[in-house]
């Protein structure tokens, strides 16, 4: 998990390119003749990036789960995933479709390509990937300068937070993705939450797990985190924070006895977009209290 | 074999009619079974005999009246029906490997509220198993029994149930001659000593006429004739229904045995 720390302060991967030859994150070349006027963007994170770059005017359709910024909801909404509505995309006649690599099947992409639509694939597994995605989307939408600025901005913010963080990986943190009554799920290594924890120099108590996983309640008690971050929905009549604070048997956990439980925004913390900075800031505030 | 016309009636069937899929399977059949009567229904395949029995045991919808000692059977309590009317079906199919004994024990179901002594219950079951010759096979799974043994198991259940009137659909099917004879002897004794009655469907006309006291001859859903042996079990009646010379056929069958008597 800690290896990602270098990536954060790492390079801007300079990618020299001709005016219209762009390579997407699946390694395919995209032959863009002009700056697209009509784009369909399926991943929420890509929508957020394009809005941040100011390229929102060219977006004509967004995927089902794109809920930020609010204006995105006014665009045409398209079913995604297994039930990707290919014919609707074709009928919108976009210049480019931006798609997540792991979010669609190859058959579906092939149909789009066969219909003569350019398909750009993004695939961000970590913060470094996110920069690449921003770069790529900047190139596609003709906002390269804005993209570079955004990347620089994000890097600055992250570096500043990392510098400010005085921890020494002594304090521990536990991310809760699904609440107790439905089985505890948490984030392990190779997740953005892990990267954020590393950046802020706190130790994720489940950094030994790959990705998302269901874990035993007793392991949380045993590993005794100093901080708890929950990203679950506000459930029923109590807020998730209150619910965690009131849990039976958890009284002795450090984070509970010191009331160090925080409700994080799951979209912010899991989407490879510009809002990762906000997530990091919020988390910093929670951990260091400033 | 002298049916006492004055003894009170046990089962009364009035205008029984069964229709299914637009066909009239049983058409306005009326009869009456009195205490100590051995009432036999004969008739060709498809005449509606099993249908009547299914109606009596309330497993199919019917119109008309079925009265047990004057009471409408459809309105009686289920375990009252079972204590009074016992039915042996034409087919038996079992899926799980119950033992013979477990099946026979079920015959006692309707008495479970009487809280009889355990020992006494056991004796009744023992007796039923002995009567049907199944005592040695009591622990065997019904799934491994031969055709006749299955039939005897369900007969034993019926004896354990000890109803006032036995309703038997082809009880001698699958039975060998020894148990045929034994069944009828047991039933005969039991009826006369306890003022009970039996209603049986029998295809073997010799057996029927040997055993029965009252007869109902059916054909195509209708009662052709009804009465004592001399009125029903006579070639004049039977030949028409069966479209053959019944008497001479039975005589042929018997011929071989004459010399051994």
């Amino acid at each position: 998990g800690c290896s990602n720390k270098e990536n954060v302060s790492d390079n801007i991967q300079t990618q020299e390119q001709e005016s219209n030859k762009i390579t997407d994150m699946a390694g395919n070349e995209i032959n863009l003749k002009k700056t697209p006027e009509k784009m369909v963007v399926l991943l929420p994170s890509d929508v957020e990036i394009l809005y941040e770059l100011g390229a929102d005017k060219s977006i004509i359709g967004v995927g089902e789960y794109c809920n930020y910024p609010k204006e995105a909801l006014n665009k045409k909404i398209i079913a995604t995933g297994d039930d990707l509505n290919v014919e609707q995309i074709i009928s919108l006649n976009p210049d480019v479709v931006v798609i997540g690599e792991m979010a669609q099947s190859t058959d579906q992409m092939k149909q789009l390509k066969d219909a003569g639509i350019l398909v750009a694939v993004t695939n961000s597994q970590n913060i470094a990937d996110t920069y690449k995605a921003i770069k790529l989307l900047g190139q596609i939408s003709g906002k390269e300068k804005e993209a570079d600025d955004l990347i620089a901005n994000m890097k600055d913010s992250f570096q500043e937070l990392e510098k400010k963080s005085k921890g020494n990986f002594e304090k521990t943190i536990y991310f809760e993705v699904s609440p107790l009554e439905f089985g505890l799920w948490t984030a392990g290594k190779d997740t953005f939450m892990q990267e954020l924890a590393d950046m802020l120099k706190v130790k994720n108590i489940f950094e030994d797990l790959p990705g998302w996983a269901e874990i035993s309640e007793e392991q949380v008690l045993e590993r005794n985190p100093d901080f708890i971050v929950t990203t679950t929905m506000s459930n029923k009549d109590s807020s998730p924070v209150d619910e965690i604070l009131a849990r039976n048997n958890w009284e002795n956990i450090e984070a509970i006895s010191k009331k160090q439980v925080f409700k994080g925004d799951s979209d912010m913390m899991t989407r490879p977009g510009p809002r990762l900075v906000d997530a990091a800031k919020e988390l910093y505030k929670f951990i260091y209290g400033e | 074999m002298n049916s006492n016309k004055k003894s009170p009636s046990i089962l009364e069937i009035n205008g029984l009619t069964v229709k299914m899929a637009g066909f009239t399977l049983v058409d306005q059949v009326t009869f009456n079974i009195r205490e100590r009567e051995k009432f036999i229904i004969v008739g060709p395949n498809g005449a509606g005999k099993s249908t009547i029995i299914k109606a009596i045991s309330q497993s199919i919808p019917y119109s008309g009246e079925i009265l047990y000692k004057g009471e409408d059977v459809a309105k009686m309590q289920k375990n009252q029906i079972a204590r009074n009317i016992g039915v042996l079906a034409q087919h038996h199919s079992v899926n799980y490997s119950f033992t013979v004994e477990e099946i026979v024990e079920l015959g006692r179901f309707s008495y479970r509220k009487d809280k009889l002594m355990i020992k006494e219950e056991k004796e009744i079951i023992q007796e039923a198993l002995e009567m049907t010759g199944m005592i040695e096979k009591r622990k065997q799974s019904v799934l491994t029994l031969s055709g006749g043994e299955i039939q005897r198991t369900f007969l034993a259940q019926l004896f354990a149930q000890n109803p006032n009137i036995l309703i038997l659909d082809e009880p001698t099917n699958y039975l060998d001659i020894q148990y045929q004879e034994q069944m009828f002897r047991v039933i005969e004794e039991w009826i006369t000593s306890k003022n009970k009655a039996v209603l049986a469907v029998v295809h073997d006309l010799s057996l029927a006429s040997y055993f029965g006291s009252e007869f109902l001859l059916m054909n195509q859903g209708k009662a052709v004739s009804r009465g004592r042996k001399e009125e029903v079990m006579i070639p004049e009646q039977l030949n028409l229904v069966y479209e053959m010379n019944v008497g001479s056929w039975l005589h042929y069958l018997y011929k071989h045995w004459e010399k051994y008597l």
Partner: protein
């Protein structure tokens, strides 16, 4: 068939039966307690037998020895114990329900899952959750009641349809309609989750229940329900035998077929409804445990029901233990383990039994 009197031998006899019954009961209870102990001792956090014992003992006396790390106490008492208890209770409920249904319908394929009751219960739970998600008044009780209600309604609907469609009510018709109904109910559940807004979707998704996170309140509730329902079911053991031999034969020996059927269905739907609403749909247990049990007890429900309850409880406790410990700290979904171990166990036992049979 004469009336005789055997008072002395009667009491003697009854005492003998009681003694046999008590030894068996004692033996089975011991086994279950042993399994329970094993399941409480093993977990993803290592706490040794001695410490576990002292913690449990401490809970009874109210005083914990001071040399045990304090955090162990809630792990054993707060987390493991209720979970182990709950898995035992759910295992028992599903198994006795399965056994009862298989007898009632004379069909070895009957089970909460195949007969559509589990799906019905899930649908009820989802509806309760979806509709109460946004209101303030959301009590777990609503989910319970809806689950029970829906599972009972499902079973009634299925039998009603089976009756209309096939007057003879052949046993496979009922299962066929159950399977079809089950798919129908699942499709409505999916429809609700597909069309509901995102928040509800999440809640529904995560609310499908799990044995993890069981509380003592739930354990108590489940215990009470299990005791009542299983008691009544066992009192209907003879009726179930009659059904298992054949519904027609049951009628002939005097079983009030309709009433008994309704009663058993109601009990089964309460058991399955509550289990589903507390711990989600756990397939397989209700189908396979009765078959495994039948190998030892035969099809007689007087033995089958209690023993399959015990085996089901032990099986699910152990399966849950494997889920917790096998890839610790990761937990496996319980369905994987029950299906995996259960199917292998089933085939193994069946083959063993049959090779015996052919050897003689």
């Amino acid at each position: 068939m004469q009336q005789k009197n055997y008072i002395s031998s009667f009491t003697e006899n009854k005492m003998k039966i009681k003694a046999v019954f008590l030894t068996r009961f004692f033996f089975i209870s011991m086994c279950l307690i042993l399994i329970m102990n094993i399941c409480v001792v093993y977990g993803s956090v290592d706490i040794n037998l001695w410490d576990t014992g002292r913690i449990v003992f401490g809970a009874i006396t109210g005083k914990f020895p001071s040399d045990i790390p304090e955090r162990f106490i809630p792990i054993v008492l707060g987390v493991r114990l209720p979970r182990v208890l709950m898995s035992g209770l759910v295992g028992a409920s599903l198994s006795i329900s399965g056994a009862a249904m298989q007898g009632l319908l004379k069909n070895p394929l009957a089970d909460g899952t195949t007969i559509g009751v589990s799906s019905g219960a899930s649908l009820g739970a989802v509806i309760a959750i979806a509709f109460s998600a946004k209101s303030t008044l959301v009590s777990g009780l609503g989910t319970f009641l809806m689950s029970i209600l829906f599972s009972f309604a499902s079973i009634c609907l299925i039998l009603f349809l089976a009756k209309i469609i096939d007057f003879t009510l052949s046993t496979n018709t009922v299962i066929l309609i159950g399977v079809i109904y089950s798919m129908f109910a699942s499709s409505i559940t999916s429809l609700i989750t597909t069309l509901a807004d995102k928040e509800i979707k999440n809640i529904v998704f995560w609310s499908m229940g799990s044995i993890a996170g069981s509380t003592y309140e739930e354990v108590v509730l489940m215990t009470v329900i299990l005791i009542i329902c299983s008691f009544v079911l066992m009192r209907n053991g003879v009726e179930l035998n009659a059904f298992a031999i054949g519904e027609e034969n049951a009628m002939h020996v005097g079983v009030d077929v309709r009433r008994v059927k309704l009663r058993i269905m109601a009990l089964v739907s309460i058991l399955i409804g509550v289990s589903v609403s507390i711990s989600g749909t756990i397939g397989f247990v209700g189908l396979v445990i009765p078959h495994i049990t039948r190998i030892f007890t035969g099809p007689n429900h007087k033995k089958l029901l209690p023993i399959s309850m015990a085996i089901g409880a032990g099986f699910l406790m152990l399966a849950d233990m494997f889920c917790r410990t096998m890839f610790s700290p990761i937990e496996l979904p319980i369905g994987i383990i029950t299906s995996f171990i259960g199917s292998i166990l089933f085939v193994f036992i069946m083959i063993r039994k049959n090779s015996n049979k052919f050897r003689g």
